[in-house]
């Protein structure tokens, strides 16, 4: 089944002012295969996708679909030739019904035959096993289902090539599985699927083949089963993996004796149930648990980001009251929010302005930081954190995700916090930057900063944290340290820690 070549992109070139985004990239998609497109941020994945969907015009190369040379000038062109894309952000109308979202914009008559559409939509949804009803308002469906409706629309448009761009970023495990089932069923119908994602496990779960890009060049195309995960990462970041594993040389020792920096008893907020928590100076610990287990809510309570409803907090032994973020900041606590697009960056402001923001807030707005001072700060952190930006005055919105994250990190480092909370600092950024951020966390700890680290990737937390607090269903169900810090033990605790709790 997977032998017939469906789509062939050859020697694709794309240049932007000053950058060669794609340099002679080849990509081949076969009928009925799920093909993962991998690479770090800036490797050229998005550019390649955008060339294929007509958002960008290529500067050289050729695209063949079903053996015929095609030119794609607009997303509309791409759709008409059978190339459909489902983006991470839902590109449907939440105020219309599911059926309308499947058919709008491609009706053949002036009249909208609702009954007819609803019947056909139900057939399609049923065939693909999508748990939505045609007359439902789309906005009432979960994000995962909305995404599936977008796929249903693409499928009904007789697409041969389906591009899924980071489709799983906002889905939980169950929803991801639903999506994968749908992908497999499409695959068996002969659709070629291009799957772009940051999650390595997911690539190994569904994909048949992997194409790796790096710095706008093709690294190679591999059969998934023949490429071990470690090698894939190595190919993506282009360096040997020793660094990854030997991040933490000496085991966690001294922290036990250091003074307790922060201590909370029965802390609760409008979003988090009461919990006890403490962290020592120079300690790196983490909250882990499945999505929705309450790990983010708990750290938000520490920072006062949600309405604090109870509990007592002390810092360095002295009782304090933290009910608002600014109070937390004055007590030396920094918080890097989970959703950097919403809670973190201010896209139109420059890198420099974004960096000095937290310091400015702490100083108060009547004591402005002088221009030369802020420029010096910005230059310093751009260098220290190796932020890739054209200049310090570049709007942060035009930086890649990983670099945006570094800017926000710089923002907090500038306030010289005693305690830094990092909520998913490495989500959606490339492996290389991830590694840099992990290293930075350990370096900060060495300098005496306490860090709480949250990540969806357990492996990453095991590498950085000396103590893990495990949460399930909004309760703390266990605490792991020392020799218990391994993937298996974490999984066990997440899955069923009750027995341990009773003791």
């Amino acid at each position: 089944m997977q032998d017939k070549v469906l789509l062939q992109m050859r020697q694709i070139e794309k240049r932007f002012p000053g950058v060669r985004a794609l340099d002679g990239v080849d990509f081949t998609l076969r009928e009925g295969e799920i093909h993962a497109l991998m690479g770090e941020n800036g490797a050229g994945k998005s550019t390649l996708i955008k060339v294929l969907t007509g958002v960008y015009q290529m500067d050289g190369g050729e695209i063949k679909l079903d053996g015929e040379l095609i030119t794609i000038r607009s997303p509309q062109d791409a759709q008409n030739s059978g190339i459909s894309t489902v983006y991470q952000e839902i590109t449907l109308c939440p105020n219309l019904t599911v059926a309308e979202n499947i058919f709008i914009g491609r009706e053949d008559s002036t009249w909208v035959r609702h009954k007819d559409y609803e019947k056909r939509a139900d057939e399609i949804l049923g065939k693909l096993g999508i748990p939505a009803r045609s007359r439902q308002q789309l906005g009432d469906c979960s994000l995962a289902v909305q995404q599936m409706v977008a796929i249903a629309r693409a499928v009904d448009m007789k697409c041969k090539v389906l591009i899924l761009d980071e489709p799983t970023s906002s889905l939980d495990d169950k929803e991801v599985n639903m999506l994968f089932d749908l992908m497999r069923s499409l695959k068996s119908q002969g659709v070629g699927i291009i799957f772009v994602t940051h999650f390595l496990e997911q690539v190994y779960e569904v994909s048949d083949r992997i194409t790796v890009l790096r710095n706008g060049e093709l690294v190679g195309e591999y059969l998934t089963e023949e490429l071990p995960q470690v090698e894939l990462v190595a190919k993506m970041i282009g360096k040997e993996l020793d660094e990854l594993s030997s991040l933490r040389e000496e085991p966690d020792i001294v922290v036990e004796e250091k003074e307790v920096f922060y201590n909370a008893k029965g802390l609760s907020s409008s979003a988090a149930l009461p919990f006890d928590f403490s962290i020592r100076k120079g300690e790196v610990n983490g909250f882990t648990g499945l999505l929705g287990s309450g790990r983010s809510e708990s750290v938000r309570a520490i920072f006062g980001a949600d309405k604090v409803t109870g509990g007592s907090v002390s810092i360095k032994g002295k009782p304090v009251k933290i009910t608002r973020p600014v109070e937390a900041m004055k007590n030396g606590i920094g918080y890097l929010a989970e959703d950097r697009k919403r809670d973190g960056i201010i896209a139109d402001l420059s890198v420099r302005e974004n960096i000095i923001l937290a310091l400015q807030v702490m100083n108060g707005f009547f004591k402005p930081i002088s221009r030369s001072e802020s420029e010096a700060f910005a230059d310093e952190y751009i260098k220290v954190l190796n932020i890739k930006t054209a200049s310090r005055e570049t709007p942060i919105g035009s930086l890649s995700g990983g670099n945006q994250q570094k800017v926000i990190l710089a923002r907090w480092l500038l306030t010289h916090p005693d305690y830094l909370i990092l909520d998913e600092p490495t989500r959606g950024i490339d492996v290389g930057t991830k590694l840099e951020i992990q290293k930075l966390v350990l370096k900060l700890a060495e300098e005496g900063v306490s860090v709480t680290f949250i990540s969806s990737e357990v492996e990453e937390m095991l590498r950085t944290c000396s103590r893990l607090i495990v949460m399930r269903d909004r309760h703390v169900v266990g605490e792991l340290k020392g020799s218990d810090l391994n993937q298996e033990q974490v999984m066990k605790t997440i899955a069923g820690g009750e027995a341990k709790d009773e003791e």
Binding site: L92, C93, T110, V112, R133, G139
Partner: protein, 343 residues
Amino acid sequence: MNQKIGVRREPLTDTQLLMTITIFIFFGMYLLAMLLLGGGFLRAQQVFDMLNDNASLIIVSCGLTIVMIGGGIDISVGAVTSLVVMSCVLYLNGGGNIFVSILLALGIGLAFGLVHGFLISYLEIQPFIVTLAGMFFARGMTTILSVNPQKVAHEGFAKLRDVKIEIPWLGYVANNGNVVPARMELGVVIALVCLVLIFILLKFIKLGRAFYAIGGNQQSALMLGINVKRTRFISYVISGLLSGISGYVFMMHTGAGNATNAAGMEMNAIASSIIGGTLLTGGVGNVAGTFFGTMTLTTIKKIVVSSGLKEPWWQSITTGGMLCFFILLQSVVLGQRAKRKKS
């Protein structure tokens, strides 16, 4: 039909939900007025009066609803109505032809719609600014045409104006024993025809659904293959055209032109649309709701007057209060809905 394919009843869409709330509130309020205030509210003529007085408001509100569903705003509708009235009055008094006067009304409305639509859709200027300019322009033109009030003195028009639809069985017996039939003006028929046509447009025609799509999410609408610019353009053209019709209906109701005609009508129209369940953020709304929005607004004003608060400011204050109440209600209802979906 539903049973046949085994579809279970879906929860209402946002549009249906908000409209239902308005309809219930309208009937509840009217019923209360009948019970507590009695008098005129017990007569069918009360409803017909409300329609006669507000036919032109209903028409512009329909246009505004379309624009607002598409995520825009048109605050020129009152001023354009006024300009149409004045132009037609002067034209008719100059010995004009009825048929041509109708074309004149439509032409003026259409011209404003075309210019607004072009500036907003194709040059991408803020709709508020464009239609604000349109409003000042139309008001200014009206005053240039005539500062003094002008009465229509045209035989043909007088005949047209006096066309009244009489419904005897809905009438009432006056003090002197005569039966006074319920009277409805021609303008109301025009307004109801517009209402039905736009209802069909919004519900069953491709273009109508496209208004919802661009109001729901413009970027998505583009990706779904809708010509966003053209759709938005057409929404303003329809609104302009309806302002023209509204002007003519207004003239048939008052029989005179005045520079201050239809002052504040755009605001009443916006209020009607919002009370009827149209969201200012776009994508949600319905002209049936808008109709009941206008009626709700009018009823509350009548209630205020019947309660003995004759000064005009009381009506403004209650209108303001109503609007506040409905916006609050909408945001609470939709907020609850979003919450329920999350949990």
